[in-house]
Every structure is written in C-alpha cells, then in structure tokens.
Amino acid sequence: MSTPAGSRATPAAQTTTPKAVVKEDAMWLQKALINRNYHDLATARERGRKIAATFVPGNLNELLMCFDFARSLPETNALQNALRKRSGKLVMEAERDGQSEDVCTYVKADIGMFLQGEVGPTGEPLPRPDVLLLSYTGCFTFMKWFELIRHKFGGETVMLHVPYQADGRIRPAMRDYVVKQLRETVIPALERISGVKFDIDRLREYLKESQKAEEDLVAVLQTAKHRPSPIDGYFGAVYYIGPIFTAFRGTPEATEYYRVLRAEIEARLRAGKGPLTPEGDHPGEKYRLVVEGPPNWTHFRDFWKMFYDEGAVVVASTYSKVGGVYDFGFRHDPARPLESLAEYCLGCYTNLNFAQRIDMICRYMDDYRADGLLVNSIKSCNSFSAGQLLILREVEKRTGRPAAFIESDLVDPRYFSAANIRNRLESYFQMIRQKRLAAGVH
C-alpha cells in the first residue's frame, strides 16, 4: 500500500519501446523528493543517523522525525522495484527462501530485496533499519512482515496496535489506547533507540506543516468533481499522494510540493483541460469511474493506458486514501498532537469497517458524478480484497450504476493478465454506454 515516485520513465512492458514521458512540474518535484529520500537512507549511516522502517497506513512520520530517524517505507520500496521491473525476481527469491506462494507479494519483494544484497530501487544501498515501527493499521500482514524481517535480518520491532473501527466509529477507549501506547511504549522506545529526547513542541511544528499539505492535497483530489476532471484520481493520484504518504508528511518540502501541485492542477482546471497522461493530455473524458483497490505496479503504465485509450478517467479512488483519509475533514492537529496521530491511524481507509467503505464509495459516486465503480482486486491484499464482491453488489444496489471487477496483483508480474483485464474493461465501458443509451443520455 503505497505510492510511486516518478518512475513513469520506466519502460512499461518488455515489448514496448520507451517513449518520452510527459510530466507536470510537480511530478518532477515528487520524483526528486522520493529519490532524495533513498539517498538519505543510503548515506544515513555515514552521517550518524538511525534508520526507521514503517508502513504507509498509520505511519507516524512526524513522530519519527522528532527522533531524527531516516525513514524507509517497505511497501514503497517494493512498488518502486515493481515499477522498475525488478520485483518478479525478488518475489521468487523469497519463495525460494521458503515463503509461500500464497502470501503477500509486498512482503516477498521486501525479503527478496534483503536477500539480494540490500540494494534499494534507485541502485543505492538500503541499509537495515534500526527500528521496525509496526503501525498495525488495517492489515494483519504488517505484523508478520516485520516479525519476518526482524527474524531474518535483525532490528527491533516496536508495536503500535491500532484497533479496528468495527462499529464504524472511533470510540474514546480506542483513541485512549493508541495514545497510551504512543506515550508509554512507542515514544520511550524511539527515545532509547535514537538517543534523542522527545520534544512535543517539535512534533507540533511538524503537524502544522502536515495540515497545510493535507489541505492542498484535498483541494487537488477534489478538482476531479469538475467535468472534465483535470486529474486522474487513481493513476495520477498515486503520484500526488507520494510525499504525504511516505517520508515527507510534516516537512516544509511536502508543503511546498502540494502548493506547487495545487497551483498546477488549478491552472489545468481553469484551462478546461483533462488529466495529464504519460503520453500527453488525456484524449477526452468519456467515462468517469470510481476505483476501489490498489493498482498493479508491475505493468502500471500499460494498465493506465487501457483506461485513457478508452477515454476513461478515474475521478476518485479508495487507494488514494490508504495512507490517510483527509477528504472528510480530518487534519493533523498541533493542538492535540498525540490524539490526532491516534485519530489519523484509526481513520486510515483499510481500518474502516465495511459499511463505512461502502458509504464512502457511494458518496464518491455521487459527489464525483461517476458512471460506475471498478474494483481492482489484488491477490496479495486480503485487507482490501476479502469481501470486495459484496462491496460491489452493495454499491450497485444503492447507486443503480454499473460496477465491474478485475483482478491483478501488487508486485508479482505473474498475476497480471493484460488481455483479461482489457477484455473486462471493454465490456464494462460497453455496459456503461448501453446504460446511457437506455437512459437517453449520450
């Protein structure tokens, strides 16, 4: 569950001739940020810095910065390797080492990367973390993942258990539990490991930056309510969420990135332009979709092309909320630093219950005037995938708009069948057209 850096320059398929990729300025800035973080990690040891690994959903980036940790996000590392066509061999390396073919391929790509010499996606070394901050938010696999890394490669795990929103709300006892863990377990452990004393005012300063970036991110994502949408809320959004879902939330660089991004997107909106695709301006918006589920990373550009070639624009997605749901009002709050970190963790998308997830999708369908819902079901990710067929049925029932289902995987290229996905998408777009004809809308 994470986001790509600007890796769209990577050739998409073995048979595709690389083409010059069109990017917004903000995309170049994003690429520079993400690559800089890999360089920070590669050189952390020589600069005397400790390294923390943590997961995207429920990540406590501002807190880790209070202890001067360099930050590594293993899902991001896995997907970056996938975008660079390296994840297949990493997954198989982990399977040769004893991991089951049935389990999450993010985990296996990460283990494979350690086994194959601990080199990060950019080719620089990716040193072993000193602490594995286990933000246990909406995914049980996270727990096993860091236990596995600890077991095989060392490092200390620190658990932050985030209770599930089973009855669709954050009860005070849940928030208190998370805050108490932060105070009594997580912060003391981070102080001990880093040798840096916790300063809550430093945390407040970072959270002020987070707020600004969150405000601009929401503004960007909500431009998709317009027709035509100036952004793609799935394929494009995974670039937009990159800095804020990873090592940059709370930094002035992220604030600046989102300011630039917002200005660019609002300029596109004023110009009446559609989204920018890797091949230039979108050919014209014919279908507006909401997408549930993470994208496939191994064939990301091929996958995206299947949409824009048909004139489809994703106007909203649940995946772009996996590292934080900000569009319904939540903001990190410097006045309540630990409480708002707790509420952030509790509110991540995969920590929402089924009714909340369905409500959110239905709301997107209305607010973004979508033609339908597409579920991209990911083999690796039970947290997202288990029960998605019920989500699909419920959304169809409640909105009366058609839904479709495709299957792929995160970073295992063996599970991407382009022909199957293209066939299903073509049938789906045909279904939308027929619905429109039946309703007298052209």
Partner: protein, 388 residues
C-alpha cells in the same frame, strides 16, 4: 459409557451442519440465546454468564457444498469464510442470535462487516484483542472490550450480567480447561489409546454443547479410552501446527495417523486451550480474564511476539514436553497468519535440530494419498534418524 458410543455421539455432532444440538438446547431453554464465534479465541465465559450458549463455528468442513458463499470470494481467499457464509445464507445458522468475530486475520475481520450487512437483524461483534501486553495499556483496552461485550450481551439477554455470574462461568470453564488439559496429557502419554481423530471429535463436540456437558463428555471419554486396550504401534510422535482456524477434514487427521504418526500435540480448536492456566475465580472477573489473556495464554501466529527470541517458544515447549520427534506444518491454503509464520518456526526448529515437514490443505481437501505419502515418508525418516 462405551468408548464407541462416545465417539459416535461426537461424530454425529461434528457432522451435523444443521446445528440440531443448538436448536435442542434452545428448545430446552425457552428465551435463551445462542451466540456463534469464529476461531481462534473469544472469552466464552461472558457468553455463558449471560445465560447463553456459545457456539464455535469452524467452517463447513468437507460435507458442505458451497454455492452462495463462493459468490462472495475470489479464488485466492481461504475457504472458511465462504463456507461460513454458506451456512448463514442457507439459514443453517438461524439458531444463532449473534456472532463474534475475533481478531485473527484480515479475512475474518472483513467477514464481520459482511455479516453486519448480510444479516442486519443479528448481533455482530468484531472482538478486538490487544497486541500490547502491558496491563495498564493493552490490558486496560482489553478490559474495556470485555466490558463492552458483557454490556452488549446483557442487553440481548434482557438482564444484567453480574460479577458473580462471571465468576461462576469462569469456574465452569476452568473445569473444562482442566479436563481438556488432562485429555491432551493422556494422549501425549499414550497416543495409541486416544487417537487424534477421536480427540479432535471430542474437542469439536465442545463447540456446540454447554460447557458443563462437554466437561463430563471429556471425562467420560478419558475413562473409556483408558479402559479400552489398543495396540501400540511404532509410530513417530509429531506435533501438528498451523491448523488453528480453518480445520482440516477429519480424513486428513486419520490419514496422518494411518501413515505412521502419533499426533501428540496440535493447535486444533484452540479456544479450549487458549488460556493455559486456570483463571482466578475471585476478585474482579473482567480483570482476571484480561490478565489471563495477556499473561497466561498460548502463542499463535495471530498474536504479536514482542521479541525475536519469543518466536517458536510454545512450539518448542510442545515438542519437548510431549516428547515429539518432529513437527508437521499443516496450514490452510491462503492462510496469511499460518503461512507467514511458518518460515520463522521452521528456522527455529532447524536451529534445534527438530525435523519437520509441511503441506497445505483446505477444509474440503479430498485427495488424501499425497498427504498420506508425505506423512508416511516423514514418519519413516524420523524413525531412520532416531535409529541412526
């Protein structure tokens, strides 16, 4: 009671996918409620204290044809949620007034939300358990969860659930835990007298019978098993692990035994052995249950191990205390907790020179020949190494 009669009764309960025992209990207790629960652990004491029957659901086994349940799941999801849904959608679970979904994995967690939507008239609770084992932190949260369950069930029962009710229920379950511990100790000491296929059926009977009745049943079985001489074979003594949620078909357990293995410990129906010691029967009962969970419960892959050196501690203890010669990893296909845990446990065993073998199953696995062959080869290899 004759051994064969006890086993036959347990088998009938096991095979009954209509849950007649539950329906009969409800008929005999007008107005009383039955509450289903999924693996691995729920504090059944609270359900019992509310005057209700806790009913353990372990999927549909190999006799249930899953049709509707399959429509809700992709091919890469394990089988237990689809067969459990099948049971619900075909109204076999109408006798249940509520369902508890313990915190075990993403699939069961999501099933709790699906149940809320598909069965809106039923009580549904996702039962969260702490992964922080500090009394003041995870303990306080867990006590709150326990109190919330007690309050919910009191509302459903239409009467309060008092501390005395809870203490009485803790006592009843302590009795049951002692009986089950005795059963496991007996099987480990004389596995030829208590084959695992029978022990398993006795455990499964405890999923639908009232606890007091199940305790008597376990004691009856122990007495009958002791009194019925059976031939001792030169089998390999193994611990079976990984089968804590979706259960293997009974034929698979029999196949392992027929292939030359005595299963001397396992993680079947773990709810009955989750708490490894008696829970104090005096003092604040919710505190007692919370402390028991935090400090006197078993280790399994759905629980966080705080330190690297904790990994495999229980499995090693099982091997040592039961005199096992090897370990069989039997995990359901697509079971994330079991399959992600497995390489770590295998590494621990390898470092201790304990042989192991591994395979996957589904609750409806029908082909036993490969399992029998693998278990037989494993047993033979153990005997060869032991002889060497």
């Amino acid at each position: 009671m004759r051994l064969a009669d006890i086993v036959a009764r347990c088998e009938a309960l096991f095979e009954d996918l209509e849950f007649r025992a539950v329906r009969e209990w409800k008929a005999a207790h007008p107005g009383a409620k039955a509450i289903g629960y999924m693996p691995i652990y729920v504090p059944r004491e609270i359900v019992h204290a509310a005057g209700m029957l806790p009913v353990g659901l372990f999927g549909g086994g190999d006799q249930l044809e899953v049709i509707q349940g399959d429509a809700y799941y992709q091919s890469y999801i394990c089988r237990i949620p689809r067969s459990t849904l099948e049971l619900g959608l075909t109204r076999r679970l109408d006798c249940l007034d509520g369902m508890l979904f313990p915190s075990i994995c993403d699939v069961i967690r999501n099933l709790s939300g699906m149940w809320q939507i598909l069965f809106p008239d039923k009580y549904v609770k996702y039962f969260d358990v702490p992964q922080n084992y500090d009394d003041a932190v995870g303990g306080a949260f867990y006590r709150h969860e326990l109190a919330s369950l007690r309050d919910d069930l009191a509302r459903l029962a239409g009467r309060p659930v008092s501390d005395d009710d809870l203490r009485g229920s803790i006592a009843a379950y302590n009795e049951n835990r002692r009986a089950v511990r005795d059963l496991y100790a007996f099987r480990a000491a004389r596995p030829w007298q208590a084959p695992t296929a029978e022990v398993y059926l006795v455990l499964r009977a405890g999923c639908v019978l009232p606890v007091e009745e199940h305790t008597r049943l376990v004691r009856d079985y122990l007495a009958a098993a002791e009194a019925t001489p059976r031939p001792k074979r030169d089998n390999a003594r193994v611990v079976l692990t990984g089968a804590f949620c979706e259960q293997p078909p009974l034929a698979l357990i029999k196949s392992i035994e027929r292939a030359g293995c005595y299963i001397v410990d396992d993680d079947f129906v773990l709810v009955q052995r989750w708490l490894v010691e008696d829970v104090p029967e005096s003092g604040d009962p919710l505190d007692a249950l919370a402390r028991a969970f935090l400090h006197r419960s078993t280790q399994t892959s759905s629980r966080y191990d705080e330190k690297r050196e904790d990994k495999g501690r229980t499995l090693l203890a099982q091997v040592k205390s039961r005199g096992a010669e090897g370990v069989i990893f039997a995990a359901p296909s697509f079971c994330d907790p079991a399959l992600l845990e497995r390489p770590m446990l295998q590494d621990v065993l390898a470092r201790h020179g304990i042989p192991y073998t591994a395979f996957k199953y589904a609750e409806n696995t029908g082909q036993m020949a490969p399992i029998r062959e693998q278990a037989g080869t494993f047993a033979d290899s153990i005997k060869l190494w032991t002889a060497a």
